[in-house]
Each structure stands twice: as C-alpha cells, then as structure tokens.
C-alpha cells in the first residue's frame, strides 16, 4: 500500500493580523491559529489518492504543543496517523533549520511506519510566505521535486510514477516523475472536503505521536532552531508611501464629475505624454 506523508504547519491567520497605527508593531492578540490552507490542499490530494488507490496517510508537523489541534483537524478529515515534533530547541528555525528537522522526522516516519512513496507540502505558508521548506526536504532526502502543482493527473502505483500539472507564470507544464516524490500544492489542486462525523469523533479521542529531540539520537543541535538558521531578521518597518494629497473633484451628476476630470487631464502634460492632445 502507498504511504503518503503530508507536512503541515499551524500558522496564525496572518490575514487577521493588524498593525498598531501608533507603535507600528504587530497586534498578535486574538489572531486565530489555523492549518496553513495550502497544506490542507496537500492533505486533500493525499486523501483522494487514498480513496482511489488505497494508501496510508501520515501527517507531520513541527511546532509548539498546541499544534496538536491542527493534527486533530487532519485526522478528522481522514488522515490515518499524525506526528507532532516539538521541542523548545526547535524554536526560531528558519527554512533551512525547519527542512532539516522535517527531513529527520520523515526518515524516522519511514523507519517506524514504512517507506514513503509521496510527500505533500503546501506551496508556501501564510506566515513565512517563502515556499522553501518543500524543496529543502526534497533536497535533503533526495526525493524528486514537483513544485506549484495545480493538478495531479495520474498516479501509477505499479510503475511508481506520477504525472501532474505545474502552474507557472507563463503557462502549465505537464510533467512526470518517479517515486519517491515531493509535491507542493496550490489552491487549484482540489476542493478540501468537510470532516465527516465519524472522523470528528475519531479526532476527538486522537492523541498524536509526539517526538522531541530525545527521539532523534543523531540530530545535530547546531543545525536546529535559531542556531541552525543562517538568516536573521535585522529590522522590520512599516513601509511609507509618497503622499500627494491632490485635489478633490466634486459635483452632483456623474457626467459633470467625469467632464471636470477629463478637462483637467486633457489640459495637463499627461495628455501630451499619452498622445491625446
């Protein structure tokens, strides 16, 4: 049976984060935690393959203990197994240190639960927005790498091949590769299902497998957390934009406003530049 691993991250819903206009700092209070939604599309695709061909779906995440909630959500949707990798020593990790820990986790998942055929990640996270962790894991585990996948066309468990559509800026690339493969998921990949009642019941009682640094005897401490992260945030600021505070054009009738506006534009140097005059 196929073994599919889905990497997820619990993130603050950054769409809800506001900036304090006085102090120019982030207001994090009251911001809900969610499963990064690109990751849910990765999970959905794994579940569809499971429905069609039969597969065992393992979900993994690195995060603080409350990330258990996100793993339970994945279980309620139909994942078979969930692993939480958590340790204070992992905190402050950038994409390089994160991909190191997740690669180590996937190696251990393979050892304990069977070899991995496919890995799904979201194309990027809402909070980090980098899209670098997926390629990082693929690189460390020597997996084939298919990023920005908008459609899985065909999975052939016999030939151990998969054919997908990658969505790029200038078009769609149809590409095929061999297992083991890591795929990063776009929103277009599928529509995420709702959790069925039996799934919700199972999730309520579910306890994920929890691993800490102690469970990885050969992990190199210099490669994890803040210490293992080459990138450093040196400063943050709220960007300012040139303000012009131009003139207001007012009128009662829309036609009158439109005429005034065009009169001004036609009389300006813009009209020359655009070849109107």
């Amino acid at each position: 049976m196929l073994h599919i691993v889905v990497c997820i991250k619990q993130v603050p819903d950054s769409r809800e984060i506001r900036i304090d206009p006085v102090t120019n700092t982030l207001i994090r209070q009251g911001v809900p935690s969610i499963v990064n939604f690109y990751d849910l599309h990765g999970l959905e695709e794994a579940l569809r393959i499971k429905d069609e061909l039969g597969a065992c779906v393992t979900v993994v995440t690195m995060g603080p203990p409350p990330a258990e909630k996100s793993l339970k959500e994945c279980i309620s949707l139909g994942a078979d197994r969930a692993v939480l990798v958590t340790d204070r020593k992992f905190a402050g990790a950038d994409t390089l240190a994160t991909s190191y820990v997740l690669a180590k986790t996937l190696e251990k998942v393979a050892e304990e639960f069977g070899a991995i055929d496919m890995v799904f990640c979201g194309k990027q996270t809402l909070d980090g927005d980098t899209g670098q962790v997926g390629p990082g894991i693929a690189c460390r585990l020597d997996l084939e790498q298919l990023t920005y996948v908008g459609k899985v066309i065909h999975v052939d468990p016999e030939k151990r091949r998969v054919r997908v559509e990658r969505k790029l800026e200038d078009g769609i690339e149809v590409v095929e590769t061999s297992f083991p493969v890591l795929i990063t998921a776009l929103k277009e990949l599928n529509k995420v299902r709702r959790a069925p009642m039996p799934g919700m019941i199972r999730a309520a009682r579910f306890k994920p497998t929890v691993w800490t640094t102690n469970d990885f005897p050969d992990i190199e401490i210099s490669k994890i957390g803040l210490k293992g992260s080459p990138t450093i945030v040196s400063k943050t600021w709220v960007p300012e934009v040139r303000k012009v505070n131009g003139e207001k054009i007012a009128g009662v009738a829309p036609e009158q406003i439109a005429e005034q506006l065009m009169e001004k534009l036609w009389g300006s140097e813009l009209a020359q530049k655009l070849g109107w005059a």
């Binding site: 982030l26 390089l96 670098q132 390629p135 920005y148 690339e173 934009v241 829309p254 534009l265």
Partner: protein, 355 residues
C-alpha cells in the same frame, strides 16, 4: 569580552567575490525578471567593486549570454545541451551548485518565479546557506562587512523586514518580478562568456517534461501606460466589466488589489501591490480601492493617480492627484462615456462643436 567579540566576528569570506544572477528562460526567450535582476545586481556589484556575473542554462541559448552582457553582466557562464531544454530541478541544480562551488560568488540572485524558487530552494539547502524569499529591496553594506540587505514584505504584506545572512556564503535571495528596473539594453557592451560542461550529461533523469501549454494571456501590467484598477469596493466579478470598458476605451489594462485576487474575482496576473506587480504607468485609476499600504507601494510611482471611492476618508485619497468621492457604479461609466466623446471629437473635428 574579547572572546565574545571573536564569536561575533564573521568568518573569512575573502574567497567569495562577485554577484551572480540566474537568467531564466523558456524556449530561448528570457524572462524579464532576469534583466531586472541584472539591473539590481549591477548596483550591488558596483558598490562592492566586483564583477556582475550571470548564468544561462538551456538548449541553443548562446544569444541569451550576449543579451545578459547587453543588460549589464561582465561575465556570463553558459551551459547548454539538448537535455537542458526544459527546466528540471536535478540537472539545473547540479550545474548551479558546481558553478557556485567553483566560482564562489558572494551574492546569488534568482527571480521569485516558480522556476527560480524551485531552483534556489534546492541549492540553498545543498550548500547550505541562507535564502531570503521574494525580496523587493536589495542593498549591500560596503566593505568590509559586504552584507546583503535583503528586504521583503512580511505578515501578509503589512510590514517589511530586512534579512541578513552573516555566517554563510553565498548570500542568496529570490526577487519579485516587476519590482527592479533593468538597465537599458546596450548592444555595444562587451563582456566575457565562459562555457561550462554539463555535469549531468548522459545521466538518466527521472523527471520528464511531457508538455507545456502557454497561457500568457494579454495582461502585461508592467508595460501598460494606463492601468484601471479595482478593489474590494467592486464587490464581485461583474463590476470589473465597467473597468474593462474604461480600460479598453483608454487603451489601458485592468489591474486589481490583492483582496479581489484572493476573492477569486480576477486572476493574479492583474494584481498590483506587494505580492503582485509594482507598476509605474502614466495614468493609474484606483477604483473602490481603500489604499492599504500593500497596494499603494505598488502604484504610488505612477505619474498621475485618480482615486474613486465612496468613503471620503479612504487612505487612497492621500496618494491620488485627483480624488472623486462617489459611487463608482455611476462615475466609471460616465468617465468612459466622456472619453468616448472626446475621442470621437478628436477623430471628427466637426463633433467638437457638439461636445
């Protein structure tokens, strides 16, 4: 105290010199972001007093090595072969790694495109080194620190953050398309082209590109002289028709704020702002756009900005040369009609009396 200072000291990176830019191409045509990156890279290289280098991988792409020189590169590495026609992670990353290991650039830049992010993500892990994604500002500290100051939007575009990589070389970044400006193309410019062998030649590669379906569409915001953009105030897909009519009448293109793209009202290729395009048209309409900073940073460089919004306190009015408070559903068609009238008058001077 002195030990602490020693710990803070940066390793000796004197072997690493120069700025290297990835020239992304498909079927022999370079992505514009490649030339924009050479423009950005040139400033960094000049400040560091080092050469600007570029690398081109593909099949029959000699001409792109010349083009890279025209756009500012002093030295171009060229790796060609029929099996390199399409981008595939393994061969491309092997070539790039070999290049970086042999020539030791201190800075490597890639476009923040699907391909650029795919390649840069693999390479940074291999090396290993730090990689900053989606930068929109690039600068360097001069010698001796020579640090790349890679800045990017963070927290859903609400803030900017400057990222440093002190303990590893090269310093890597991907950079957004349409943000940096290319140097003017100079076909008289001279540079050196270095051919490099494909280390993966003859190898079996598991990944196979079966087909590519081009979907470029007609949107090209970066080059549009006039952009008519809509925001959340439009309330749905349908009102974009009004904007399209105005844009068509003016010979312009339709843009949008992130909210509209996130809501699925319009495709991402129309998006103006931090996660979309930075545009500098001669005329920009911001219609039903409140004027959040993540939008305004992408359009404030326009020559003339017209804002239409029903909320007179909308921040967008601070950035507009002309502000109209009112109902966009009435005002936009009125402007379209007015433009039609004036165009007709221009083509047929007798009409002018009737205007």
């Amino acid at each position: 105290m002195s030990t602490e200072q020693n710990n803070e000291q940066m390793p000796d990176w004197s072997q690493y010199r120069g700025v290297l830019v990835f020239v992304e191409q498909r079927s022999g045509t370079a992505k514009k972001v490649s030339w924009q990156l050479l423009g950005a890279g040139k400033k960094l290289a000049d400040k560091l007093e080092v050469p600007l280098m570029a690398f081109v991988i593909g099949d029959q792409v000699d001409h792109l090595a010349d083009e890279a020189i025209y756009y500012g590169a002093d030295r171009v590495f060229l790796c060609q072969g029929p099996e390199l026609q399409d981008y595939r992670t393994r061969p491309y990353s092997r070539i790039t790694l070999k290049l970086i290991e042999e020539h030791k650039p201190e800075i490597c830049l890639f476009g923040a495109t699907g391909t650029g992010r795919d390649l840069a993500g693999a390479i940074a892990t291999h090396l290993p080194t730090g990689l900053t994604a989606d930068t929109t500002e690039l600068d360097v500290e001069p010698h001796p620190s020579r640090l790349l100051l890679a800045s990017r939007p963070a927290f859903s575009e609400k803030m900017m953050a400057t990222i440093l990589c002190k303990q590893y070389r090269p310093q890597m970044a991907t950079a957004r398309a349409g943000v940096f400006q290319a140097l003017p193309r100079d076909p008289e410019r001279k540079g050196e082209i270095v051919l490099i062998a494909n280390p993966t030649e003859g190898e079996q590669i598991a990944t196979e590109v079966v087909n590519f379906i081009e979907q470029t569409g007609t949107v090209n915001l970066e080059e549009a002289e006039i952009i008519v953009s809509g925001g959340r105030g439009l309330g749905g897909i349908e009102p974009f028709r009004l904007l399209k009519e105005l844009a068509d009448e003016l010979g312009g293109q339709v843009g949008a704020s992130r909210a509209c793209v996130d809501a699925g009202w319009i495709a991402h290729e129309h998006q103006v702002g931090q996660t979309g395009y930075t545009v500098r048209p001669k005329l920009y309409f911001a219609i039903g756009i409140s004027g959040a900073v993540q939008h305004t940073v992408g359009m404030a460089g326009s020559d003339v900005i017209i804002a239409i919004n029903k909320d007179e306190n909308a921040p967008i009015f601070q950035f507009a040369h002309y502000g109209i408070v009112g109902d966009l559903f009435q005002i936009v068609p009125a402007i379209t009609a007015e433009v039609k009238k004036r165009k007709a008058a221009k083509e047929d001077p007798t009409m002018a009396f009737k205007v």
